[in-house]
């Protein structure tokens, strides 16, 4: 008696619950791994999973076992040289081969760290976790491309529901005309002869009868051409195109003066990443311009932007000048949506701050979609903050936020998302 059961189509993810349990249990390690990954990654590289390494000692499930030492006597196979009573040196490498086989595998191997891969969703989950985003925003950001279906001419095959009747009949008509035209020419010719003959001869004249017969054959031939044929059929063609079809440029401006330490830079990086992520959901093509500054500004690549150390005083206007120049030189041909993001600890040269405000108000804000400023400082707002505050009411596309920890980043984008969600 046997029962043969096909289980292949049963639920596949039996272990999904256990995987979640595992993730929850090692949340801290995973969080750390994600934080490490973020500092190591380009800000454009958020749509990938990450491999997470967990030290094996954290994972071990302890049990009572024998340790090394004491007396062990074991059996091996394939004796090729030994006789009873031989003495052998202990093999190198902790005696893995010489002591108990159970031990060798337990203590010798299996000490590698445990590595596994976070999927893209899991990675973003952890990333969002820190930032305290509202759920709706999370789902919106985590969504990959949105496509819209769009007409793109006609094709020769498709589903019956998509038949384009006008096109198909027009094709059929053309084909009928083309195929019948030689016969029609002859038909006209014969008809003319017949008409001429009819004027001079009686109706039952053999020549007239012959002509009539020939005309009948031609008519039959014309009628035999099918009214509509399968290759006349035309279908509406629909293709999927990514919905965002515009491009954007994102300016990242960061203060790298001595007072910006690694922690502040890490916070700033999350801020830039989040803005980038938001932009990728809206625009198809994004360019990023990195400008760092202390007393003078410099356009750099991403690597230098986050990792090189500078020190000295701070003149914020240098960076704004540079942004203005780049903006006007490269991105004002109407094809670009411009976003600006500035991170600083707000500690600016006193006389420079009013100048910054003017620069921003006159030469930058009119041309950008959105400009966000975050001030990363644990204490009171600094002078730059007070100047910028004057801009908030007058310009709807300007947002600023004082940040002490990661959860404070999101409110900067609130306005932006609100617009998006509406």
């Amino acid at each position: 008696m046997v029962r043969i059961i096909d289980r292949r189509f049963d639920s596949k993810n039996k272990s999904a619950v256990n995987r979640q349990r595992f993730m929850r249990r090692f949340k801290n390690q995973i969080r750390e791994a994600v934080a490490d990954a973020i500092s190591g990654r380009s800000i454009k590289d958020l749509d990938n999973g990450e491999s997470v390494t967990i030290p094996s000692k954290d994972l071990s499930e302890p049990q009572f076992h024998h340790g090394r030492g004491g007396i062990w006597e074991n059996i091996f196979t394939g004796n090729d040289q030994f006789s009873s009573g031989d003495q052998i040196n202990r093999p190198q490498g902790g005696g893995g081969g010489g002591t108990g086989k159970g031990k060798a595998s337990k203590d010798g191997e299996g000490e590698d760290d445990f590595v596994f891969n976070l999927s893209r969703e899991e990675f973003l989950d952890v990333f969002f976790d820190d930032l305290a985003l509202p759920n709706l925003v999370k789902t919106q950001l985590a969504r990959i491309h949105e496509y819209k279906s769009q007409r793109a001419g006609f094709t020769n095959d498709g589903t019956p529901a998509n038949i384009n009747v006008v096109r198909s009949l027009r094709g059929a008509l053309g084909r009928r005309l083309a195929l019948s035209s030689p016969y029609r020419g002859q038909l006209r010719e014969l008809q003319k002869q017949l008409d001429e003959l009819l004027e001079t001869r009686p109706e039952d004249d053999p020549e007239i009868l012959a002509l009539k017969e020939e005309i009948g054959i031609l008519r039959a031939k014309i009628d035999a051409i099918p009214f509509i044929d399968t290759f006349d059929l035309r279908y509406n063609n629909r293709i999927k195109v990514p919905k965002p079809t515009t491009q954007a440029v994102m300016f990242c401006i960061m203060d790298v003066s001595g007072s910006m330490d690694e922690d502040k830079k890490a916070t700033a990086k999350r801020f830039f990443m989040l803005l980038y992520l938001f932009l990728t959901r809206t625009y198809e093509h994004i360019e990023v311009v990195f400008i760092r500054h202390h007393t003078i500004a410099k356009e750099v690549n991403e690597e230098d932007f986050f990792h090189s150390r500078e020190s000295g005083g701070t003149v914020v206007s240098s960076a704004l000048e540079m942004m203005k120049d780049i903006l006007h030189a490269r991105y004002l041909n109407g094809a670009w949506n411009v976003y600006g993001a500035q991170a600083s600890d707000g500690d600016n040269w006193e006389n420079d701050s009013p100048h910054c405000r003017e620069l921003l108000a006159d030469t930058i804000l009119p041309f950008v979609q959105y400009f966000a400023y975050i001030e990363i400082t644990p204490g009171e707002p600094q002078n730059l903050w007070r100047e910028y505050e004057k801009l908030v009411g007058a310009h709807a596309n300007f947002a600023m936020q004082h940040i002490e920890g990661l959860p404070d980043i999101y409110p900067v984008f609130r306005e932006l998302f609100k617009k998006k969600l509406a």
Binding site: V2, S15, R21, L59, D80, Q87, I88
Partner: protein
């Protein structure tokens, strides 16, 4: 494959791809031959699964249902990783000791592999599960699936009621003690099938723990203190730590006792398997080899089928020698297969040596001898009883004595006239769970004092406990609720406290 081979019938088709019809046809033939050999099995249930489902099954220790725990997730990730990277192939089959006996076949297998696996699992392992005394005594094939379903539902309920975290911590502790949660020498009661019965017992247990006079805190004015002080608890050392905790841990809630019990029962279910690797795998390998060859002799199998079969079979029973880099100890399939083949040979064509070593089985009916051996032995005794000089010579077995007080290793015996008995003795001892795993006992509970629990490690051959023993001790302390001590009793009679883990849950919960 012998001279008497005759083409009686058309061979069964052997395409690369299997179909359900073919599996049934092959199964019918294998079944017929197996019955002729007198194999007694549970009814079979063959389930076709994908590789992903196979990984699922791996990570829940081969069971079709199991409760949820992060460690299963971990093993799934591990399996998945090494499988995806091609470091490891998946087993062709998993077979579950249940009635009906469930055998999983992977859809990737070729038709030949499916036939091999059916012969191996659905007839080899299956008949072993049904016949071997350990499995008969320790597991209840009729009830295991029901019990696991009950266990999963019960734990889910506990999670809902007491929180996943709480249950997870408890399971962690129980898993750490799974290996010391079995009565090694006493036959356990059968797994309860009926939930109602379980609940009843649970209630009874709870009541009993309430009246257990161990923890009575009422003043016992009339009891003579002298008598109490002399009383030991437990009155005799106990080997089943989990059972002891389930019944006696003072602070566990009833549901926690039930969880301890579930883990204990599941651990116990795997206990026979750990003791019959060589026998069981050897038995199954012998039978797939014998059954398939018999079918071939009848002319039912095509040559291409046979070549693929032999190729797989040879891989399974490959035994590298000690000096090769991929040596990982004795291959239980190889050793077991060789031993069963050898027993048949001793029965059918005994030599003088065999008659001297095995007077009672040499020349006997091999079927009867097989049945006797399969039913009444485990690895340890099977090897002690049946490992013949010929197999030792074929494997070129030798013994190495590793004494950490000596500078060098010593070859204590090899496959020669003087060494046979010694080699066999050592190999048998290597498979003895009692010497393979540390011997731990619940030694004493300080009833009159701080209620601390003392465990004693009876050292054997001066072998120490491994480093993570203190981690396990923390788990014991968490379950026990009070301080736990581990002492070691050496062979020279000295006793020493190794480590102590303080814990006072009662106080912790008061504050």
């Amino acid at each position: 494959m012998s001279a008497k081979r005759q083409k009686r019938r058309q061979p069964l088709p052997a395409p690369g791809e299997w179909t359900f019809e073919l599996i049934e046809a092959y199964h019918a033939e294998i079944d017929r031959v197996a019955r002729n050999y007198g194999l007694d099995t549970y009814p079979n249930q063959i389930e076709l699964i994908t590789s992903e489902q196979m990984m699922d099954a791996y990570s829940s220790v081969g069971m079709p249902v199991n409760y949820h725990h992060w460690s299963f997730g971990k093993s799934f990730l591990q399996t998945e990783k090494s499988y995806r990277r091609g470091q490891m192939g998946l087993a062709y089959e998993i077979v579950i000791n249940s009635n009906p006996c469930i055998a999983y076949l992977m859809e990737e297998n070729t038709m030949t592999m499916q036939a091999l696996v059916i012969a191996h699992a659905a007839y080899g392992h299956n008949s072993f599960f049904k016949g071997n005394y350990l499995f008969k005594q320790w597991t209840n094939a009729d009830a295991i699936i029901d019990y696991l379903i009950f266990a999963r539902n019960y734990l889910t309920e506990c999670e809902e009621r007491y929180g996943e975290e709480e249950v997870e911590l408890l399971l962690d502790s129980c898993h750490a003690l799974m290996n010391v949660g079995v009565d090694r020498y006493k036959r356990p009661e059968k797994l309860s099938l009926n939930k109602e019965l379980t609940r009843q017992r649970e209630r009874a247990e709870y009541l009993q723990s309430q009246v257990n006079d161990l923890w009575r805190t009422l003043p016992t004015a009339h009891v003579k203190t002298q008598a109490v002080e002399e009383r030991r608890f437990p009155s005799e050392p106990q080997e089943n730590l989990l059972y002891f905790i389930e019944k006696n841990a003072p602070l566990l809630e009833p549901w926690q006792r039930e969880v301890v019990r579930i883990v204990r029962k599941v651990g116990q279910y795997f206990f026979p398997q750990r003791q019959t690797q060589v026998m069981n795998e050897g038995w199954a390998t012998f039978w797939h080899y014998t059954l398939i060859n018999t079918l071939y002799d009848e002319g039912l199998l095509a040559d291409n089928f046979m070549l693929e079969f032999l190729h797989s079979h040879t891989n399974v029973v490959y035994q590298p020698s000690y000096s090769e880099p991929w040596y990982h100890g004795l291959n239980p399939y190889a050793l077991g297969f060789a031993m069963w083949q050898d027993i048949r040979r001793i029965c059918e064509n005994p030599t003088d040596e065999d008659r001297y070593w095995f007077p009672d089985i040499a020349g006997s009916d091999w079927r009867e001898t097989f049945d006797f051996a399969m039913r009444n032995f485990k690895d340890e005794s099977f090897i002690a009883q049946f490992l013949s000089p010929k197999v030792m010579r074929d494997f070129r077995l030798f013994a190495i004595l590793d004494d950490d007080k000596e500078a060098k290793l010593k070859v204590s015996a090899i496959h020669d006239e003087e060494g046979y008995r010694r080699v066999r003795e050592i190999l048998s001892d290597n498979y003895n769970l009692g010497s393979r795993e540390p011997n731990l006992q619940v030694w004493n509970v300080d009833l009159r004092g701080d209620r601390s629990l003392t465990l004693r490690h009876q050292a054997y051959q001066r072998r120490p406990l491994s480093g993570d023993a203190d981690e396990v001790l923390k788990h014991v302390a968490r379950l026990w609720g009070f301080a736990v001590r581990m002492e070691v009793a050496r062979e020279d009679g000295s006793v020493e406290v190794l480590q102590e883990c303080r814990q006072d849950r009662r106080k912790a919960s008061d504050t």
